[in-house]
């Protein structure tokens, strides 16, 4: 499990070769629209994967298939040895392994920050309340807002809310964290505080899939970058390879537009 490692500037932990996510021939349609086309991807434990691509290319849809928010029509997804099928049991098991952070935070507005974070641990993991609250306070400390525990989401800034959302996901002690454009709804001055939390998380050895437009973050933190276009992976590689020496024409085009 991930341990709190604050104030330590460690280099990236050595990546394992243990596969944690395996996608084989994943296909997804919305009605007649083919949104994911034969996506194959294997991710190792501890790897930080950044997903890039133009709008509408299927990045969100892909990341949401990983925890079963979007069902797929063809192909396999295997998370930590569990095959993601339509079986509710498997989906439940996988949701316990994965945490997700949304662009719009999606905090529960009627609950205090502490309640937001402890809801899952208490009701899903059946932790005693005191233990769940202790964990929640540790996590709030970790994301840098220990003093906000008793406020409501509406009383926090966007950056703070997103950090709470990260803490809420971490409270389930997941193996994998999914981020879908976590900084896109934030004012520029708040982006950094969220990215800092994500960087720290990456250094601590968490397996992460991030859809983001933050190229600085991608270059600094990603072990591997995947470029989506039109529902397909058109190129993957280390940040250096992909940014400095893109192979595919569409990658070049995309990078020229965004950089």
């Amino acid at each position: 499990m991930v341990q709190t490692q604050r104030n330590i500037e460690v280099g990236p932990l050595p990546k394992t070769n243990e596969t944690i996510i395996k996608c084989e021939g994943v296909n997804k349609w919305f009605g007649d629209m083919h949104v994911l086309k034969d996506v194959n991807l294997t991710i190792n434990k501890g790897e930080v994967l950044v997903i890039l691509g133009p709008s509408g290319s299927g990045k969100s849809t892909f990341i949401r298939t990983i925890n079963g928010l979007e069902p797929i029509q063809k192909g396999h997804i295997e998370i930590d040895g569990v095959n993601l099928s339509h079986d509710l049991k498997d989906i439940e098991a996988i949701r316990k392994e994965t945490g997700m952070v949304f662009q719009q935070f999606n905090l529960f507005p009627h609950m205090t920050i502490l309640k937001n974070i402890t809801l899952g641990p208490i009701w899903v993991k059946k932790k005693p309340k005191a233990e769940a609250e202790k964990l929640a306070r540790e996590l709030l400390e970790r994301v840098g807002i220990p003093e906000q525990a008793d406020k409501y989401p509406g009383q926090l800034s966007g950056g703070q809310q997103q950090r709470v959302a990260i803490a809420r996901a971490l409270a389930m002690q997941p193996e994998i964290m999914l981020f879908d454009e976590p900084t896109s709804a934030l004012d520029p001055e708040m982006i950094k505080e969220v990215l800092d939390v994500m960087k720290e998380l990456a250094r601590s050895g968490m397996t992460m899939l991030c859809v983001t437009h933050e190229m600085g973050f991608a270059r600094e933190v990603a072990d591997r970058i995947v470029l989506f276009d039109g529902g397909e992976i058109i190129e993957t590689g280390t940040p250096e390879k992909l940014f400095d020496n893109p192979k595919h024409e569409r990658t070049k085009l995309f990078l020229s537009q965004i950089l």
Partner: protein
């Protein structure tokens, strides 16, 4: 991690510029700012003065209020035997006790409601027509309110105590009023007047709420049997007037029961009113459910909550908060609709009014009677809408 950066030391708090708000300025700005507004103000003003003058003259010089005072017991509890009135007083004391407890625990809205309650008790203590025994009971209510308020603010596990207390108080109240054979039974046909109105409204509102929530949830169910049953029920009931339902409860309902088994008339009417209101509650709740963004469901899913937990902890609390005003509106309208039960032979507040005004002794006093019961309805309905507004405010509805 983020660092606290203080760019500038805060120097001094500056008070906001004071708004000089003189009434004269306001009047000039809002009522007399141009010629047609001036004309409207004058017209409306004179109309207002005329109506208030006429009303007040009538209330204080022409009206003969003896009809109210003389029949006060009738208005309140109708034919309920005088010798058993202590049982109603006891039931009322039980209710007062719980109000006090809740006020002590939650303060806020409950406390305000208790102010209203004490005002009503006080007015009755002062009123010249109140009998002495009633005055003693009323004073007891006030004392009970104060005592229970302090208990409520001191007890441990106050919230749980409140829930349990209210739930237990209902059978206790019913026990006092009905007797259940432990005390001599007092049949429901003599439960009349305001007491009946309040009981009908309370039962219909309290029971229809959970049923309405279940129907609304059922309507969104993935199981089509449940879904279409709920839709069918809601749409059927909403297409039928309450009066018809009351008649059906009266005539049709017994046909479905095995012979020999009869259900009390009042109970049938209560059930009819409940099932009627539930259909409307369901639609209100559905509106609330629809106002919850999909992201809330997704967030709940990703932290592993199952559908029941998601509904109970995430969706319903938000949905219900959003529809407090509509729920209260529905409750007020149910409260007023109880006056229809006169048609199926129950004698509620309005029913008593009808019989009082046809009493030859009080011939021609129908105006007083109607004004009085209108006032009673208004006080209660207004208390409801007042508390709704306060609850909305304290929950911050519409501010997020």
């Amino acid at each position: 991690m983020s660092v606290d950066l203080k760019l500038v030391e805060a120097k001094q708090m500056i008070a906001p510029p004071s708004q000089s708000f003189s009434m004269w300025v306001w009047i000039r700005k809002n009522l007399f700012n141009n010629w047609y507004n001036m004309l409207l103000t004058l017209l409306a003003g004179s109309l207002l003065v005329y109506i208030s003058y006429a009303t007040l003259t009538w209330v204080f010089t022409e009206a003969q209020w003896a009809v109210i005072g003389d029949n006060y017991k009738l208005f309140m509890v109708g034919q309920y035997p005088i010798l058993a009135l202590w049982r109603i007083w006891s039931a009322l004391t039980m209710m007062t006790f719980m109000f006090g407890i809740s006020a002590g625990t939650f303060k806020g809205t409950m406390l305000r409601l208790c102010y209203i309650l004490s005002t009503i008790y006080l007015v009755h203590i002062i009123a010249p027509f109140t009998e002495n025994t009633s005055k003693i009971w009323l004073t007891a209510q006030l004392v009970m309110l104060v005592i229970s308020y302090f208990i409520g603010s001191k007890i441990p596990y106050a919230k749980r105590f409140n829930i349990v207390g209210w739930v237990i108080s209902i059978p206790i109240i019913l026990f006092f009023i009905h007797g259940f054979g432990i005390l001599p039974v007092i049949r429901t046909n003599v439960w009349n007047g305001l007491m009946l109105t309040l009981m009908l409204a309370a039962v219909a509102i309290i029971l229809s709420f959970p049923i309405g929530v279940l129907l609304a949830l059922g309507r969104t169910s993935k199981l089509s049997v449940i879904k279409y049953f709920c839709i069918g029920y809601i749409e059927l009931i909403r297409g039928i007037p309450l009066i018809t339902i009351l008649f059906m409860a009266q005539i049709l309902f017994p046909l479905f029961l095995p012979t020999g088994l009869t259900i009390d008339n009042l109970l049938r009417v209560m059930l009819g009113a409940t099932f009627f209101t539930a259909a409307y509650m369901a639609e209100n709740v559905r509106g609330g459910l629809q106002s919850i963004p999909n992201g809330q469901y997704e967030a709940a899913k990703t932290i592993g909550l199952n559908p029941v937990q998601t509904t109970a902890f995430v969706i319903l609390p938000q949905a219900l908060r959003a529809i407090i005003p509509t729920i209260v509106g529905q409750s007020i309208s149910m409260f007023k609709d109880t006056s229809l039960v006169a048609i199926v032979g129950l004698v509620d507040l309005l029913g008593i009014a009808q019989s009082v005004k046809s009493n030859p002794e009080f011939l021609g006093r129908h105006m007083e009677v109607y004004v009085f019961i209108a006032f009673v309805y208004w006080v209660i309905a207004y208390s409801m809408s007042y508390s709704s507004r306060r609850i909305e405010k304290s929950l911050g509805v519409g501010e997020r």
